[in-house]
Symmetry: C2
Subunit: 248 residues, 2 copies
């Protein structure tokens, strides 16, 4: 039995999310079925961070155990061929030792959130950005974001379906920058609560629109109350960028 580490890119648009679900297409199911077709084995894929419906992946890390002897090149090429026409691609495959676990070995996760900030709606970027026509105040959003960095009880920014044991997390960094017609949020932490990134970005967007002051974000955080959430941003603009491991 060999443990394989996979790096996966996907367009989350057509999927109900990463995790396998009855009667709904998922990234996990598509990849597992491609590997099963290739190997004749029933396999189980584990990932660094399960994504919601519509959320994209630039370099999601996953692992899977396969008994059949394979080389990395053949595994990657074979799975990619079998994944067609799903918009999922294995960027790389490598053998890892049995200690490696895509979820439990992961020591850091990076997300990107993209807002298309212009009057005209997206065309080529449809489904890949959140469109906000009103000009956003990036400096105010950056100031507000500072209140969210650090170790906090993020109950306000947590989905009611969140299964995490504790609402206390350490947000390593949350930076905001204008990139051409877009506004990008770069988010880094060891781990996140369910909907945390989208809840933070949605709330910061109210600051960008001038409806909230930066201090209102601090108040909402300290309230530890989901009712104080400003807004949950749509999944379209969210990208799982990468997972960090001690061995990298």
């Amino acid at each position: 039995m060999t443990r394989w580490r996979l790096t996966v890119e996907f367009d989350g648009g057509p999927f109900s999310g990463w995790q396998r679900q009855d009667g709904a297409p998922s990234i996990q199911q598509s990849i597992e079925e491609a590997i099963e077709k290739m190997t004749g084995e029933q396999v189980r894929l584990h990932c660094a961070g399960r994504t919601d419906a519509g959320v994209h992946g630039l370099a999601m890390t996953a692992h899977v155990d396969i008994a059949k002897p394979l080389d990395a090149h053949r595994l990657r090429e074979g799975v990619n061929a079998l994944l067609r026409p799903d918009p999922i691609a294995v960027l790389s495959a490598s053998e890892v030792d049995d200690e490696f676990h895509a979820r439990f070995s992961c020591t850091g996760r990076r997300y990107l959130y993209r807002i298309l900030n212009r009057r005209a709606p997206p065309t080529l970027l449809r489904g890949q950005v959140w469109h906000i026509g009103q000009d956003l105040d990036v400096e105010a959003m950056a100031e507000a974001a500072k209140h969210l960095e650090g170790n906090h009880d993020f109950t306000t920014f947590r989905s009611v379906q969140c299964q995490s044991d504790s609402p206390v997390k350490t947000l390593d960094s949350l930076t905001v920058e204008r990139v051409g017609e877009e506004v990008h949020f770069h988010v880094a932490a060891r781990s996140f609560l369910h909907h945390q990134v989208r809840s933070m970005v949605g709330t910061l967007s109210l600051v960008g629109r001038g409806q909230w002051n930066p201090a209102d974000v601090k108040d909402a955080l300290e309230a530890r109350d989901r009712q104080q959430l400003g807004l949950n941003a749509p999944p379209d603009g969210l990208y799982f960028v990468k997972a960090l491991y001690p061995e990298d």
Copy 2:
């Protein structure tokens, strides 16, 4: 009657091209119908360069004459609302004088061609790049591209359906650069023959793969024979970037 200049962005994927055709969706028809719904007038849209099926536009210039008094903001917003769900957006609208003609006043056209050059197929960029898995030699392609710059008879790189009076054109510049996982071709000329950019990029890709030498491109050009064409690149990677006008 007011002449309006429009800057238009579009995802060419779902369309049979810019130009109106019976029984096939076109960008021209979608925009004309949106303006007709808004104004109650029959209008005719002219553009800087008609694009083929699957070719994209980042900032296509077009013009249209409208009798109904409108302001630029209302025209742009109204047309964009009526264009839904087509992936077409009016980025800007401005009044111009009657001398302005999107096609005949245009003194320069810029195209971009994007190749995704990595083993794994595209996911988020599907339909928006040409995927080539084999590692391309960018230096060799750049050297070959130099043979195409300048004033030449481009018969070799011209579609049999081309309606241009003459195959002689001046290619102002054709540069090639690696941008992350992509290879970009930046192409500039006053005007182009039908399929010229795709024919040049397709042929240069053979140099990038090592199947042709840079000098073979010179020979193909000098042959003035469509049969000597290396390859016509697919439309997916082609973008009309912008049109230049003396008044800008």
